[in-house]
Symmetry: none
Subunit: 220 residues, 2 copies
DNA sequence: TTAATCCTACGTAAAAACACTTATTTTTTA
DNA sequence: TAAAAAATAAGTGTTTTTACGTAGGATTAA
């Protein structure tokens, strides 16, 4: 006879965090942690080579080699029965949009309480998914709940003009100054900036600068 | 008769992480966790109002309100007997230089093993400090261990409030959102942002983001 | 040729950023 | 302990950004 415990896998690159969660989960009678992974690759390897599969995966989004977003995409496709709860430090709109799109069953910020984590796991096991109030609130703020996301991690293709404008934005020029340098109208610069905001899923120029640095469009 | 256990305080804003560490430490016979703080202020409050003081503090560097660096500065001045072990996600040179300069007794990356954590705590309790091989290796790479930091960037002293605002700006929050999180008026947030612009010699928030990244106030 | 993409540009309105000033509280220091 | 300095907080006014829509011309590919 098989165990009727909820089988859980953990994926997080921080061993201290992982072990900590492990002991928190271990205290619950109906939970059984069957695997720990330090990155997405380890997790995928386990799932493909092992017949004892988890019901639920607690997945950190930031991991080396294969991050949580990519791993979630793969797993939801190949193992649709496994439910994934995403773990992040920050509850940003773009993250949430992303994770829901690629099929995460729920969402936990790392400063959630252990009680909340355990509740979420039980809810996700019982139902198809569980979103807490905070997430629902953020979701309700979307104008276009599904369409309005472009992946934070996914490659974003910029046109050459957009790239030029982005570089100048990172040099702290405003629209008028950029327009002078590129010999175009400030309105056109605005248009390009707006495209950049949309494409990179940024809220403002702070987001554009971060994107530019992360994508090595500007080098520090 | 007093306990001869090692008294430990935890400071980390992520409750899940904190609780996890708590259970890891609790399994050790000679450890006793006497306090948990979600930010530096809570920790300082505890130390100043309570006579039962920890021997060792496990301190996350990234915390809201009062971060680990600032808290460490205060505590090493006011309570020189308390030894601080800094926790970070990344082992960068400037962090290590910083933490040693302000008096951290040791250093743990969050993907250390529980075994390593426990070993470090015991070492720090027995001796004045403990630096693992990784940290020593990084230290040995300094040409001028103390002086060689931040020669390129002029030293800009930010207040803790300014630092908080800057961190939130880098997370793409606007003044209203930042105000809500810090429980102050949006106008006050504007004031802090203006101080930041002046102090960092920036033209706009693009410049602030660049400054924050270059000075490791935010980490990519 | 039609479709698609890109660059260009404008209008309106709202939101946010930014500049400047003032006031209160806290900390330093003389 | 009083004065000075620094930090924090907040109001007023101007400029810039941002949202959203529209649209013509150039280039390229199906």
């Amino acid at each position: 006879m098989m165990s009727d415990k909820i089988k859980i896998a953990l994926a997080d690159d921080e061993e201290l965090f992982r072990k900590g969660i492990y002991f928190l989960l271990q205290r619950e009678q109906n939970f059984e942690v069957i695997f720990e992974a330090a990155n997405g690759n380890q997790l995928i390897d386990f799932l493909t080579t092992n017949s004892n599969r988890p019901d639920i995966i607690l997945m950190d989004l930031k991991m080396p080699l294969l991050n949580g977003v990519e791993a979630t995409k793969l797993i939801t496709q190949q193992f649709p029965n496994i439910k994934i709860i995403a773990l992040t430090s920050y509850n940003t709109k773009s993250f949430i949009a992303n994770m829901i799109e690629i099929g995460a069953a729920s969402f936990l910020v790392k400063n959630a309480s252990p009680k909340e984590m355990i509740f979420t796991i039980n809810e996700v096991y019982k139902k198809a998914f569980y979103y807490n109030e905070q997430v629902i609130k953020i979701l309700s703020e979307f104008k276009f709940p599904i369409e309005n996301r472009s992946d934070f991690f996914e490659k974003v293709e910029l046109t050459s003009r957009e790239r030029e404008v982005l570089e100048l934005i990172c040099q702290q020029f405003n629209s008028t100054e950029i327009a002078e340098q590129l010999f175009i109208s400030p309105r056109t610069v605005d248009t390009h900036r707006n495209s950049l905001l949309f494409k990179t899923n940024s809220q403002n120029i702070a987001g554009l600068v971060l994107f530019a640095i992360q994508n090595k469009i500007v080098i520090l």
